[in-house]
């Protein structure tokens, strides 16, 4: 052990208290945290991937009922929610940029706006769910879905059990996504409080970056949920 090296390390640690002792420098610590976050995101991709796979296979198998179910979804509420999430992703990257620049109040502002946008998404989603309850499109004993109308107003019979499967997948997929949104809102509220207290500096803002990665992934899942559930069966 060279004394000079030990002294340098100690000086470094004193310089940035956020650097924990198992890492040799800030860059290594940051890369390790980022790698761990990405590994977690990969497990999330596989988790939602299983549901996407189930949806695609059942859509192939019960095409008619899935198209009929999809046509009952409110495309405008879905589109609005997509836009809300995209804007929230922009505020998240601007938050990371504000953190990097060490602008504390700007960072808190962007984090708060992100949480508000996340809550807006959940409220709109709530109105969609309310509509589903009113139309008896929620799987269970009150589920009722037997027919659809084609472009000429002609009745086409739909297998109720198959349509129920569509709405089951709809509620599981959007529900799991909504739970991720709720977790994201709680997470970002916590980050906003810590940012307000000055926990993050321009040399240490890894939680903001990794929280941002999570938020973007939840956004990407919605980017795929929206066309698969709302858009691709409009003319089927």
């Amino acid at each position: 052990m060279h004394d000079s090296q030990a002294v340098t390390v100690m000086e470094h640690e004193a310089h940035n208290p956020a650097l924990v002792h198992q890492f040799s420098d800030e860059k290594q610590q940051k890369n390790a945290a980022s790698l761990g976050m990405w590994l977690f995101l990969v497990t999330e991709i596989m988790f939602f991937g299983g549901m996407f796979c189930a949806y695609l296979i059942y859509r192939l198998t019960y095409f008619n009922a899935f198209a009929a179910g999809s046509q009952q979804l409110n495309i405008w509420l879905g589109a609005t929610n997509t836009a809300v999430l995209i804007v929230s992703s922009v505020t998240v990257v601007l938050a990371v940029k504000a953190a990097e620049a060490g602008k504390r109040k700007l960072l808190v502002g962007y984090l708060v706006v992100t949480v508000l946008l996340g809550m807006t998404f959940l409220v709109i989603k709530g109105f969609e769910y309310k509509e589903k309850f009113e139309k008896h499109h929620v799987p269970g004993s009150t589920f009722n879905f037997t027919e659809k109308f084609d472009d000429n107003g002609k009745q086409i019979p739909v297998n109720s059990k198959e349509a129920e499967l569509f709405f089951s997948l709809y509620f599981v997929m959007t529900g799991m996504h909504a739970i991720h949104m709720i977790i994201g809102c709680v997470l970002f509220t916590g980050l906003a409080i810590l940012a307000w207290k000055g926990h993050y500096t321009s040399s240490y803002f890894t939680p903001i970056e990794n929280g941002g990665l999570y938020w973007h992934l939840v956004d990407i899942i919605w980017i795929y949920l929206f066309p698969l559930l709302y858009l691709i069966s409009r003319h089927s």
């Binding site: 695609l56 992703s89 990407i220 003319h235």
Partner: protein, 99 residues
Amino acid sequence: MSEHEEHTTHSQGFYLAIGILLLILTATTVGAAFVNLGAFNPVVALLIATIKATLVVLFFMHVKGASEKLTGAVVASGFFFLMILLVLSLADYLTRSLP
């Protein structure tokens, strides 16, 4: 360790431009859903979704310009395993009706 590697973020205008591009793509995919393209409706919708997701991964999640190549490898492996799940499963179900 160049100065460039320290700052992976882009300018505020760049992020706003990507955000506006994502909103335009959303409007496009909603518009395309009202046009009857037959079998190409799902193709167009999923293609636009993939473009949007790629923009988010590369520029918002900073995979492009990441100093650590391992991050890129993890992202690519995640995509690879997702493709094994989806492509192999659908390769089975899509071809069952064939003779």
